[in-house]
């Protein structure tokens, strides 16, 4: 940047003396790594609080309208949800393997795992898309066209349900899974960029903080799904 050219002394000298990835305002690479890692964990805290608002709403409404929530939950496709859970757990494994590869300095292995992670993320999103389509077909999307008549449980017993309350369930379903899917999309974008950088050789055993931090993000998004799956799909499915 033009203004920093004038400042000769310190910064430039430090840049030359050390790792090129070390930014001027840090004393050493360890301090930079610790700062980045703490920053990422704090960001994850904000993400937990962000989703926490919706989990709080879910908790309140599930306690208030349990029967409707149970009946509406039965209409979700448990097989698609379970497949997606498996896809995400596998993708978490590939992320861990990517970090491992970065640590060992295996560039091609690293790129491979990053690409596989993105592909698994996209698989999740495609399956999610099919689920959403099913909701449209069954008129389970909240709004003027919403209909809910499926008030029988798996054993054919009638559940006394207010369809309006089922609409509330589907509102939460779309808000929570939609926000989660948005985070998945951001994650896929992030890992695609990292894959390109990794291909160009930006990372080394001495510097792979971005891979680690993006991995933390991906794990958090996975964990959120691991909570969403039982809370949304498995209400009263324990017969």
């Amino acid at each position: 940047m033009s203004d920093s050219q004038a400042t000769t002394s310190q910064a430039t000298m430090e840049h030359e003396a050390h790792n090129p990835a070390l930014l001027h305002h840090f004393a050493d690479a360890q301090q930079q790594k610790n700062a980045a890692s703490l920053g990422m964990w704090l960001f994850l805290v904000t993400e937990i609080m962000f989703f926490g608002g919706m989990f709080c709403a879910y908790l309140v409404y599930r306690l208030a309208h349990f029967n409707a929530f149970a009946a509406a939950s039965q209409q979700l496709s448990i097989w698609m949800g379970a497949t997606n859970t498996a896809v995400l757990i596998i993708s978490s494994v590939t992320v861990v393997l990517a970090v491992k590869a970065a640590e060992a300095g295996k560039r091609k292995v690293l790129v491979g795992y990053l690409v596989v992670t993105v592909l698994l993320g996209m698989t999740f999103l495609v399956i999610k898309g099919f689920e959403y389509r099913e909701k449209f077909e069954k008129h389970h999307v909240p709004g003027a066209t919403f209909k809910f008549t499926d008030t029988f449980d798996d054993n054919g017993k009638q559940i006394p349900v207010n369809p309006k309350e089922a609409e509330l369930f589907f509102s939460l379903y779309f808000a929570m899974t939609g926000m989660h899917a948005l985070h998945m999309i951001i994650g896929c974008g992030l890992f695609s960029v990292l894959a390109v950088f990794a291909w160009k050789g930006h990372y080394s055993p001495g510097y792979f903080t971005p891979i680690e931090n993006a991995g933390l993000y991906w794990h958090l998004v996975d964990i959120i799904w691991i909570y969403l799956f039982p809370l949304l799909y498995l209400i009263s499915r324990h017969s």
Binding site: H25, G39, F50, G52, G53, C56, A57
Partner: protein
């Protein structure tokens, strides 16, 4: 080194050292800077613009309320005006003002670092703030919002047809700006302190901003998701807060105040940090009970998260919940009182000088005490039922948010202006403006306590004629206050060119920021300082001649 670039007409002046202000003059060197000090200056300019915009709406409100009839504007317009006043002042002025301007500028210097931990994220914060600011300005110019800054559902989600979504997203952007600022501060304070600068040696301003940052990163995401839920409810007809679907509008209020009550501490805590610095400097004494003042900031941040439902005592929450929240609200008064008592004890047998920053500090203590104690009135369930949604509440939170925050901010601006600009402000004018602010503020808001107590509700554009006298007093006071706020802007700008050159440490103050030049170089220090002394070691620092106080040493 720099001598070759000095223009001839400045050659006789002391050789201007390369500092953060003259290190690059292009627009790009400002708009793409990652220097925390330049970003602080960008924030300073933008929050000032929004402050005067919000103040303009405040003046419209006061003018409308000059007479009992609705003669200046109609009810709809009035609703939009007080909403804009609230939104701009809360999200675009009070929340960012002290952390983003003074905190941004000072925290890295105070802890002996070259910059914040994430300089580019710091710049991103400012851009997010500006995007939010442009959006709210766009809302303002294209029809406004009429819900009040609180966006209460179901009015906001179902009924109003004003620009809720865009205004909400503007607040969302400002919120993310503040999340990133808080995250940056926490990481910086944890990881970037100079050698020897232990937690117990940190300036209290840093402690206060640390506590603020905790609230920012824990609270702001919750209001962010609340705004998103309101937006999807309007855009996609999801029914999260819709009572027809069994949704609960009260849930909105819980989620909203879970952030928006702690947000008051986001505003006041950094100002309290400023006041701690001012009181100890102008008493020339180590602050009384350093550990208590430091930890009371953390205590306020923690307990402040547990009091939100006191905004909802009459909204239909259970009596038992109300009693617990009432108790907790009294409880949060304890750490605030610890601060006030410790400041007062610091003054005792101090060598006090009445420089402008100190006048603001005194003003802060007085106004914050009134604002805080009337907060306890409101925490009392019986009184709260009587004065909910009256001008009593308006007066109370203005005493804290305007009396408190602005006194701290202006005190801090005067105190650190020599460091920020390298120039001294004119002391006489500054004292006059401090007087105007103090008198104008009390004249504006004290009558509102009485108005509220005798029953004038807030957010109405008309009122019965018997309330007029007090309303006229309040409007007159707001004009005095406006002069008090305009003066510093004028003489600060004047001092940039005509003010005397500031020495490195004009106040004889402790703290690392006074050990570097005024204004500081781009990387703050020529070499990383090593701290071997406790904070506020005023018995080891000689007072500058002009500040020798009359008190005993």
């Amino acid at each position: 080194m720099a001598s070759t670039v000095i223009p001839a007409n400045q050659a006789q002046a002391p050789a201007p050292k390369l500092n953060y202000l003259n290190n690059g003059h292009s627009l790009k060197s400002w708009l793409l800077t990652t220097d925390h000090k330049r970003i602080a200056v960008l924030y300073l300019i933008s929050v000032t613009v929004f402050f005067f915009l919000g103040g303009f709406f405040a003046m419209l409100i006061r003018l409308e309320l000059l007479t009992p009839q609705g003669d200046l504007m109609q009810a709809d317009t009035y609703n939009k005006v007080f909403t804009m006043h609230g939104m701009i002042m809360v999200f675009f002025f009070l929340i960012p003002v002290v952390p983003a301007v003074l905190g941004n500028f000072l925290i890295p210097i105070m802890i002996g670092a070259k910059d914040l931990a994430f300089p580019r994220i710091n710049l991103l914060s400012w851009y997010l703030y500006m995007v939010g600011g442009i959006m709210i300005s766009h809302v303002m110019l294209t029809g406004g919002v009429d819900t009040g800054w609180t966006f209460y559902s179901p009015f906001s989600t179902e009924y109003t047809n004003t620009k809720i979504v865009e205004a909400g997203l503007a607040a969302f952007m400002a919120g993310f700006s503040s999340i990133f600022t808080g995250l940056n501060f926490i990481v910086t304070i944890h990881r970037m302190r100079a050698p020897g600068l232990t937690w117990n040696r940190l300036p209290l301003f840093v402690w206060a901003n640390y506590a603020t940052s905790i609230i920012m990163i824990l609270g702001t995401p919750v209001v962010a998701i609340t705004i998103v839920l309101v937006a999807v409810e309007r855009l996609f007809h999801l029914g999260i807060f819709d009572p027809r679907l069994g949704g609960d509008p009260l849930l909105f209020q819980h989620l909203f105040w879970f952030y928006s009550h702690p947000a008051v501490y986001i505003m006041i805590l950094p100002s309290m940090g400023v006041i701690s610095e001012l009181i100890t400097c102008f008493s020339r004494k180590r602050v009384f009970g350093y550990n208590f003042v430091a930890l009371s900031s953390i205590a306020i941040a923690v307990i402040g998260f547990l009091v939100w439902a006191h905004h909802m005592f009459v909204a239909g929450i259970s009596l038992y919940a109300a009693m617990i929240f009432s108790f907790l609200t009294f409880f949060v008064g304890v750490p605030s009182a610890v601060k006030v008592f410790n400041w007062t004890a610091t003054l005792y047998r101090g060598s006090i000088t009445y420089a402008t920053p100190m006048l603001y500090a005194f003003g802060f203590i007085g106004l914050f005490t009134i604002g805080g104690l009337t907060g306890l009135f409101l925490a009392t369930l019986g009184i709260d039922v009587h004065v909910t949604d009256t001008y009593f509440v308006v007066a109370h939170f203005h005493y804290v948010m305007v009396g408190g925050v602005l006194m701290g901010y202006l005190g801090g601006m005067h105190f650190w202006w020599p460091k920020i600009s390298g120039r001294m402000y004119p002391e006489g004018w500054a004292k006059l403006s401090a007087l105007f602010v103090f008198v104008g503020f009390n004249l504006t808001f004290f009558p509102q306590f009485i108005l509220g107590y005798v029953g004038m509700p807030r957010r109405y554009w008309q009122y019965p004629p018997e309330f007029q006298v007090l309303n006229v007093l309040s409007t007159a006071g707001s004009s005095v206050l406006a002069v008090g706020y305009l003066l510093p802007m004028i003489y600060f700008l004047w001092s940039l060119k005509y003010g005397p050159i500031a020495p490195a440490n004009p106040w004889g103050a402790a703290g690392l920021e006074w050990k570097t030049t005024s204004p500081p170089p781009t990387f703050n220090f020529d070499e990383t300082p090593v701290v071997t002394w406790e904070a506020y070691n005023y018995d080891e620092i000689p007072a500058p001649k002009e500040l020798e106080g009359p008190g005993e040493r």
